[in-house]
Amino acid sequence: MSSPHTTISMPDQDLIRQVAQRNKTAFNSLYDRYCQLVLSLAWRVLSERQEAEDVVQEVFLQVWREAASYDQKRGSLCAWITTITRSRAIDKLRSRKSRRIYDPASEDILELDEQLPDTRILQENLDNRILLRGAFASLAKEQRIAIEMAYYEGMSQTEIAEVLKEPLGTIKTRIRSGLIKLKELIGPSLGN
């Protein structure tokens, strides 16, 4: 067995490879690395702790079972786990009888606005959550709302267009331009 110490600092690609080989120490480290992200995302979608923790269990069981099918050519481990989490959480949300109505003025968004860092910090501080949060917060509010409604509420472009009373093409453009802007913001800073 590899010692916990060696798996803690191990790059994602090596870690998942070991998980695929049924290494529980590696799985333990992978859980520690991604538990918070999985839980926060599931909680954001479901707004209910018990259900969010159920999603955590489901996601990690799926990761354990399907680790061998993960292919790094198709994206980072983080993106893979995020996609699994989002899809499981949205499934749960949809299985509820009534759905929460999205409120664009919810606290999450207001909170983001307050955390906008200045550009100096953006350049100096790489790869931390505050930076990413700041980058996302600096998108136009309409762009953020469209992306959040899609990603966290599981709403389709048509549903978003209906709720916001905007043309379908506008919603598409908001999502697309939001992601392009985000890529511009974090792309260069991650490279330093």
Partner: protein, 271 residues
């Protein structure tokens, strides 16, 4: 639908909002294997993961981890458990999708650093064989040792003893002066083994990417990660432009790799 339109749907798809006829059309198009749209969706999915990372965190309740671990225990039939004796052994790439011919090779890679050294030795020996037979005798013990190691790994042996296999060394650029790399490649079969050492560990969201430079143009040869000591391996089933290669280079790129190099160069080697 014209391609430009399909491409514009990719971010909407990655955000999970595409529906109706557009969703069906894009999915059909993706099944056809369009690398441009696949790359775009890959990039956008990375961005969605970035967005998820900006969420406020919630402390997991006390029993959550043990519930997850208990689930894993229950899910592991004892018979399918693999015992790992060393940490280096585990870094092998066991990918069921890989062709069988590569499996022995992949297993050989599992020996990690130790094997890296032996591959190094073997190729040195090959050069010496060509130059001076007498020197080879002095290293008889070493050869024996290496042969014992490789006998189990027919794939590696077959690959390395082929007279067609070429070796190109890569040197660290001013960006990574301590780094070194080496690629063993067969221009005809297009298979290759790349080995790098002393690369700085990439910032999260970044990965190293190997390029073949042929006719002054870079061609993607795959991405690889490095361990804590900066060592990385990459096995390549089908090396682009292998017969026309002039140089090999390694750059630092966004996770998942990019179609054309955009980042700093860390290793470079010419034939």
């Amino acid at each position: 639908m014209i391609h430009e339109k399909l491409q514009e749907l990719c971010p909407v798809y990655a955000a999970g909002a595409l529906d109706g006829e557009e969703l069906r059309e894009l999915e059909k198009h993706l099944k056809s294997g369009c690398p441009i749209c696949q790359q775009q969706i890959r990039e956008c999915s990375e961005l969605m993961a970035v967005i998820a990372q900006t969420l406020p965190s919630l402390e997991p309740s006390a029993g959550l981890k043990s519930r997850v671990m208990a689930q894993i225990e229950k899910d592991s039939p004892g018979s399918s458990l693999v015992e790992f004796k060393t940490t280096t052994q585990i870094s092998g790439r066991k990918r069921p999708s890989k062709a069988l011919t590569w499996l022995p090779w992949a297993c050989a890679l599992a020996a990690g650093a130790a094997l890296g050294v032996s591959l190094w030795n073997l190729s040195n020996l090959k050069r010496e064989l060509a130059g001076a037979q007498s020197q080879l005798n002095q290293q008889q013990d070493q050869i024996q040792q290496i042969q014992n190691q490789l006998e189990k790994e027919k794939g590696v042996t077959a690959f390395l003893i082929s007279p067609e296999v070429r070796v190109t060394m890569l040197a660290g650029t001013p960006k990574s002066p301590r780094a070194a790399g080496k690629i063993l490649w067969n221009p005809r079969e297009r298979k290759a083994l790349f080995y790098a050492s002393n690369l700085p560990s990439p910032p999260s969201g970044k990965t190293y990417q190997l390029w073949v430079i042929a006719q002054n143009k870079p061609f993607d040869a795959g991405t690889f990660s490095v361990d804590a000591s900066g060592n990385g391996f990459l096995e390549i089933d089908s090396l682009s432009e292998a017969d026309k290669a002039q140089k090999f280079a390694v750059t630092l790129e966004p996770a998942g790799g990019v179609p054309q190099p955009t980042g700093e160069m860390h290793l470079l080697g010419s034939l």
